[in-house]
């Protein structure tokens, strides 16, 4: 990380730590929601922006994390902390199983199969009334006193988010991450230099679904309830758009995308129920004017960390899309 980026990060962390001390409760809650969504988007971007996989139904792993947390506490009577650890593991296992089939296909077919298998899980949660409460979902999940107040839930979410981001950052800089980005650029060539493409992709999916599961468990912390929309493909689409909107070839882009989308949904949602209409317009504008996302756009404008990349996007696109 460059010095200036490091400083900006520290300032941001300091500012965000102060939010619960100055802002009203509603805004604390919204910011915590942004944190959870940002973690979900960041986990997705590991495989989409950096891995080049069409992970169309990432929300499923988020939903599994949330449902498993709620079920273990409500139905199995487990303590919260045990559920909080087991939920991401359940997401990871689900991610491994679905991923194991999907990485056998490439590009769009990967995405299509994932939507099908993911929808299956949604259908189970939606139909299995006695266990999951069907379309009502599950409510009144008890959270330990330590983290149950809005303010404490905020800090807890914030700390988990920072820890997760730090791990994701380390992963992206590692040989594994470098190879993953090479895979995104050119899977065929990766095979030719001795990389087991499917295995590497599956490993990335497993890591991404783990963090989606963490985000799901955090969702329960701030909402104390779960409902089947968490597993529905519309949510997955929104998260996908967050990555594109924020800048899917940048590290922090998805966080920005999540912040923009959650804010818009919250504030536009109070004026009109046609939030998806606004979403559609955003998507159109994005495709036409900001193909690299907001963060990508500004990084390029400022000519800072990615200055060397200027002008190569056309070349990159033409070579990469062949």
């Amino acid at each position: 990380m460059k010095k200036i980026e490091f400083k900006i990060t520290l300032i941001l962390i300091a500012l965000l730590s102060l939010i619960p001390l100055v802002l009203p409760r509603f805004y604390i809650y919204i910011t915590a929601t942004i944190f959870v969504t940002a973690l979900l988007a960041m986990s997705l971007n590991l495989v989409v922006g950096h891995g080049g996989l069409y992970q169309f139904h990432h929300g499923v792993f988020y939903g599994v994390g949330a449902y498993v947390t709620a079920l273990l506490i409500l139905k199995a009577g487990m303590p919260f902390w045990a559920a909080f650890i087991l939920a991401p593991i359940a997401s990871t296992v689900t991610g491994f199983l679905i991923g194991w089939f999907c990485v056998r296909l490439s590009k769009l077919y990967y995405g299509m199969l994932q939507i099908s298998l993911g929808s299956l899980i949604w259908a189970i949660a939606f139909r299995w009334y006695s266990l999951t409460g069907g379309d009502d979902g599950l409510h009144g999940v008890t959270i330990p006193d330590l983290i149950s107040s809005t303010r404490n839930a905020y800090y807890f979410t914030f700390i988990v988010l920072l820890a997760s981001l730090w791990i994701l950052y380390a992963i992206l800089r590692s040989p594994f991450g470098t190879t993953l980005q090479a895979l995104r650029d050119n899977p065929e060539r990766c095979e030719a230099i001795g990389i087991n493409v499917r295995r590497h992709q599956l490993a990335a999916v497993v890591i991404a679904t783990f963090f989606a599961g963490v985000a799901g468990a955090l969702f329960v912390v701030i909402e104390q309830s779960v409902f089947p929309d968490l597993l529905f493909w519309v949510l997955s689409l929104e998260v996908f758009i967050m990555c594109l909107l924020g800048g899917w070839f940048t590290f922090a882009g998805p966080i920005l995308g999540a912040a923009i989308m959650v804010s818009l949904r919250t504030f536009v949602g109070t004026y009109t129920e046609y939030w998806t209409l606004v979403l559609g317009i955003i998507l159109i504008l994005l495709i036409f004017f900001l193909p690299e996302g907001v963060m990508g756009f500004f990084l390029e404008r400022l000519g800072k960390p990615r200055s060397r990349q200027n002008g190569n996007d056309k070349a990159g696109a033409s070579v990469g899309s062949r």
Binding site: S174, T178, R189, C190, I193, I195, H200, R308, N312, V319
Partner: protein
């Protein structure tokens, strides 16, 4: 070192490779020539595992590598370059080669160690070898065509291969770039004892560099012999040299 024995491959009704036979001795430069559509690239794809043959066997170092997937063929010590520059456009030149070196050292799966501290010397050595060290931090997608093709070879070298397979290494190059590339190929063979198999359109290059030439026509091997023998061969003149020059 490499033996291709009567290999066949069809796409639907089209017999792309229809009985190809090839011998590559250790330390030699072997060229495959033939008109467009003779099946040269398909043959290379069969050797390196991108395709698997319908019939026939491919032996490398005494072991059967027929129909092994590409990453396993690479592990055995066969690295290839592609006819169309096949690189990682969004990564720097350095990382393009490093990814290959990491893979060769079985370090692609390392999770919690920054990549910019691993195998730096090995990567820089290769970049220096091919003359791209000064462009190490350039994003690969923005390189000139000639440099792209050199990077293509550098990525292949990252796998420390024993056999280097080059698919038309000078395609689309200016005369200067061609000279530079073929100089590199010769050098790799002479100074590092690398065994090289390549295919090429330019006859001057082939007869200049290759120790042995295999001629393909309609997917079939016509002959494999020394440049002098190939030049004299009647069948070759009729099928290929005559047709091309006339």
């Amino acid at each position: 070192m490499l033996a291709v024995q009567d290999v066949h491959k069809s796409f639907g009704d089209f017999k792309a490779v229809n009985g190809a036979t090839l011998q590559v001795e250790k330390g030699r430069i072997v060229a495959v020539i033939g008109p467009n559509g003779a099946g040269k690239t398909t043959l290379f794809n069969l050797i390196c595992g991108q395709l698997s043959p319908d019939k026939g066997r491919i032996i490398f170092d005494g072991q059967d590598i027929t129909a092994l997937p590409p990453h396993k063929v690479c592990r055995r010590g066969v690295a290839r370059s592609f006819q169309i520059a096949n690189i990682f456009p969004r990564l720097t030149v350095f990382k393009n080669v490093q990814v290959s070196v990491l893979s060769q050292h079985q370090k692609s799966g390392v999770l919690f160690k920054p990549a910019d501290q691993l195998l730096i010397d090995e990567t820089e050595k290769i970049l220096d070898r091919v003359g791209l060290l000064d462009k190490a931090q350039v994003i690969a997608g923005s390189l000139s065509h000639g440099d792209l093709r050199i990077l293509e070879i550098a990525i292949a070298l990252g796998g420390s291969p024993r056999l280097l397979v080059l698919d038309e290494p000078t395609a689309g190059m200016s005369p200067d770039e061609t000279k530079r590339t073929m100089g590199l190929v010769k050098d790799l063979s002479q100074k590092e004892g690398l065994t090289i198999l390549f295919c090429e359109h330019d006859m001057d290059i082939v007869f200049n560099v290759a120790h042995s030439i295999m001629v393909m026509h309609h997917g079939r091997t016509l002959i494999q012999s020394s440049p002098e023998e190939v030049r004299k061969n009647k069948e070759v003149q009729e099928a290929y040299l005559g047709a091309e020059d006339a």
